[in-house]
């Protein structure tokens, strides 16, 4: 290679000084709606031999009312309990026997159901989704059985784990449950409410939220669009349209004062500190800057919090900062640290606060911003490598950002964030009077 080209290559690969030029490959798709309101998104990719059938319902824990917390998630379990033509447990069986993978999950804003299948089983995935959308089997025995499974899930994921339950409490504590109950309670719900849920509640929930006009069906991967459209019409076309669900209310003030909580955690072995700052809903123009700022603070070993708390002062065994809430309601930037052996939670909090204050006063460097952009770029590209990743990206664009094309256009604003933007969002949102400080305390005497 001639010398001048060698030099050019070296310059191009010099790290950290500039944002790079790669973009995620464009996601191509077409979309239409059935007369019953079911929105369909098709994004074929013939280079794989699998197909993902992905349905999002516009319902999540934010639609729950007091006394019925955990209901959206309990309902998600019910969706695997059979329908007019699918026996109890058969959904799992049929997908598994086809070699597919499937699951569902419940978040604040949505409940999703998905199956990735060998591409010759597209019809099975579509039919299973259609059958439960048209004729879910809501029975006492199914409800009681799934109530127990959900309680076990709660014990497994939260009650029997260190930090998780306390962290869940921390997340909901940023909301005022009086003005924003939608986000001010935990998705998993309370045991009391789970016990109280009745079959009538389940039926009413199904009728209101599980109608085709409240769902979006996305297909990604190896399929022929004409064939898929015919199957979708055949399976979903005759499901009746439902009512339009009521809107969700959330009034969330910013800079409403600092809260401090101490959450005892009998399972924890080291104290931990989480500081949460209230941030605007995901579609806000400030989101790209806030997200890049959270990356500068806490993503990776060279992040500010890791250098200051884990490496320099050795106060923490682990730190993280992240922007919570790919959702239509307000979210939070969370910075958290688990104290090292023999280090007090106070020291960890002081160091966390000091690093965050430094961003407001001094801003960040151009290298840090370029690094955050490159990390975002690489994460975005990475998440588009599977049919499931593409399907979720399409659904997120459609529901959370309000238009499908956001799957392709959301990338650019991140690349346009300036140093001044970072400083501005730090000054606007990362203030003590806009925060909740949560101390997660292990038992006094370690058993």
């Amino acid at each position: 290679m001639p010398r001048r080209f060698l030099l050019l290559v070296t310059l191009l690969t010099l790290p950290g000084t500039a944002a790079l030029a790669q973009e995620p490959a464009r996601v191509n798709y077409e979309t239409y709606a059935l007369p019953n309101g079911l929105k369909v998104v098709l994004s074929p990719d013939p280079t794989v031999q699998v197909v993902t059938v992905n349905v999002w319902y516009d319902v999540g824990s934010r639609n729950e009312k007091p006394g019925l917390t955990g209901f959206a998630h309990l309902f998600e379990h019910m969706m695997f309990q059979g329908s007019a033509n699918v026996g109890k447990g058969e959904h799992f069986q049929l997908i598994e026997r086809a070699g597919g993978s499937m699951n569902g999950s419940t978040a604040n804003d949505r409940t999703n159901y998905y199956q990735t299948l060998p591409s010759n089983r597209l019809n099975l995935g579509l039919w299973l989704e259609a059958d439960r959308m048209r004729s879910l089997a809501v029975t006492d025995s199914n409800l009681n059985n799934q109530r127990e499974a959900v309680k076990e899930e709660r014990r497994l994921r939260i009650d029997n784990q260190p930090y998780v339950g306390a962290f869940q409490q921390a997340i909901v504590s940023i909301y005022d449950s009086a003005t924003c109950f939608a986000y001010g309670h935990e998705t998993i719900g309370s045991m009391v409410d789970l016990n109280a849920a009745s079959t009538a509640d389940v039926k009413a929930f199904f009728d209101l939220y599980y109608a085709p006009n409240n769902a979006v069906l996305t297909l990604t991967g190896d399929f022929a669009p004409a064939e898929a459209k015919a199957l979708i019409q055949q399976y979903f076309g005759s499901i009746p349209r439902g009512q339009t669900p009521p809107p969700v209310e959330c009034n969330q003030p910013f800079n409403g004062g600092e809260r401090r909580l101490r959450v005892p955690d009998a399972k924890a072995t080291l104290p931990a500190v989480a500081v949460l700052y209230r941030t605007p809903p995901a579609p806000s123009a400030d989101t790209p800057a806030i997200e890049l700022l959270s990356s500068i603070l806490g993503a990776g070993e060279s992040s500010r919090l890791n250098v200051a708390l884990v490496r320099d002062s050795r106060a923490a065994v682990a730190v993280q900062a992240l922007q919570l809430g790919d959702q239509r309601g307000p979210g939070a930037l969370v910075a958290l640290g688990i104290a090292n052996q023999g280090v007090s939670a106070d020291s960890v909090e002081k160091l966390l606060r000091a690093e965050i204050a430094r961003v407001s006063t001094e801003g960040v460097t151009a290298e840090e911003l370029a690094k955050a952009k490159n990390t975002y770029r690489s994460t975005q590209i990475g998440s588009r490598q599977t049919t499931m990743g593409v399907a979720e990206a399409l659904q997120t664009a459609n529901m959370i950002y309000g238009n499908l094309e956001a799957v392709n256009t959301r990338f650019a604003p991140y690349m346009q964030v300036t140093l001044e933007d970072i400083r501005r969002v730090a000054r606007t949102y990362l203030q003590a009077n806009n925060s909740v400080m949560v101390l997660i305390a292990p038992p006094e005497v370690t058993p």
Partner: protein, 701 residues
Amino acid sequence: MSCTRLTLAVLGAALAAPATTTAQGYPTAPPVAGPVRPMPFPPFQEARLSNGIRLILVESAKQPVVSLSLSFAAGHAYDPEGREGLAGMVASLLTKGAGNRTAEQVSATIEGVGGTLSASTGPDFLTIGAYVLAPQAELGFSLMADAVIRPTFAQTEVELYRTQALSGLQLEQSDPAALGDRFMARTLYGSHPYARRPTPAAARAITRDEIVAYQQRMLRPGGALLVVAGALTLPEARRMAEASFAGWTGTAPVAAAFPAPPARSSRDILLVHRAGSVQANILVGNITFPPTSPQQYAARVANQVLGGGSDSRLFAILREEKGWTYGAYSGLNRSRGVGSFVATAEVRNEVADSSLREILHQMERLTTEPIPTPALEAALGALVGRFPLTVETVQQVAGQVSNSILLGLPADYLSTYRTRLAAVTAAQALEGAKAAIRPATAAIIVVGDAKVLLGGLAEIGPVRLVGTDGTEVPADQLMSASVDGPVLDLSKVVASRDSFAVMVQGNAMGSQVSEFSAAAGGFLYSDDTRIPLAGVEQSTEVVMAANGSAMSVTQRGKVQGNETSVVLTVTNGRATGKAVGPQPPAGAFGTVEIDSPVPSGTLDDNTVTAIVGALPWSANASWSLSMLSSGSGEVRQIQLAVTGTETITVPAGSFEVYRAEMSGGPSPVTLYVTVAAPHYVVKIAPVGAPIEIVLVKRTTP
């Protein structure tokens, strides 16, 4: 325009006559599979570098990314005895300063381009991986080469890692799944190196010289495997690798053969006591065979039937039929040497023994009865059909190729995998099950609260009891302690008669009067509750032993005209009796025969207001108390924790109180307890309900 009109017309027609046209077309049975597209294993290319490194490339330009992985036979099985964790420490430190970059410069460099670089160990291999955008592939290669050839191992980084490792081990003590894995490995492999896991003593002992020596001895190009996946051609990958690894030579290290894992002749249970655990993590396992065993295909099919997924027997029975668990699975773990079989479930405490019996029963059934044809077909469908999902991305393809090479599988393994699996018969699957699964001599690990679990487990097999750090815990000592941590001191409780008002939304709706006094060899607690508008009246009498534990409970009452009663005695570690009353979850009236194990020292939940006087209160106090719910016979681990102090006013006066949250029971409750000793309850508030029970008058004789 005309096109749109036509579409609208068609849609209109569909709307006009939906019932006939679409209902006819809607299938009422699962649609049959379409034709399978023939699918050869995705192509990959291979080359050998001049220094002996074997290079595999899986090429794809779909996304502009490249991933690299470089593996050495230097996993944690090669940790010297007493230096467990050394290989993991070397792996972590490879990227903490190398070549002419400090640790911060390495992380800033790779993270600056949005990439990742990290190394880790499994039992057999140490692997370093990099992930970069395609134009930074060269940088990825060069950082990786620096890390494995020229790591700095600065003393400050060694010490930082040591601190992290010690805290990490302490954190692991709080993770029931990690504890289960650690104890299972130790039990199955004994002195075989696959049992090795990091320890605090080894983390303190490892020196920098040992770290340097391990890297130089074990990380050599000879025998190493480099796998590249993504947007690079073979000539590019080869050129970059040769340039980055230039001058690095060395043959593969010679390692001594591993000793055989211990043979097991009987089944036993290791119970790892984790105080306050609300679930039991159950693991049942045995060692199996090397990955090249001719039984591997048949065994995999058998395991699929038992616990490979959500269509398998363990899931279908323990979760779907019984509702005992969120998930129950089994798996065959492959290592380069002898592998293992492990079945797992996390279940609530009350059904731990039943769940273990069921897992063992299903293992026995699988190894004695041939698999019925439908179940066999289902398992084969799952395993064979799943294959396209395991090679969806280039990274997955690279992982499959890498894995088969590292495990020493034959060259045609990946191309013949599906046909070999598909050919397994029921008779072969039975033989495979016998080779891989041995219920009669299985090792059983249960991580959970031994006080609640020991009685039930002891009926299944001999139980050895240890703490989370592995030290033996004498069973009698554990079971005789009444609570964890501070022991109840009943002498501090003052005999008293406490009158409470039951307030609903601020209005007095009823009363509760409780009395506590010394009795022969123990104490007597009684209460009388009346809420006329709710139709509730109830009187309770609990005889308590000298340590506060419940000996008998008698309760009579009426709820909205229905008679309720509890008559229950606790003897020889079992509660027996009968309860009549509203039953969860729906609150329908019913009768429950109670016969359940009760750890000694278990308190009755009716006596909470009396017990608070026996606890050492402070602003940071928290306790875990074993408590019997006498209406159902369930024993729960109740958490009681002080969350603050405040001054409250109730009819009996103003009090400086501790606010304490009680959780883990049927519903959470906030208790307000006097700061001044003797401590007693002045207010009880169920969380989320508009009810408060407030102290009106307290008299002490």
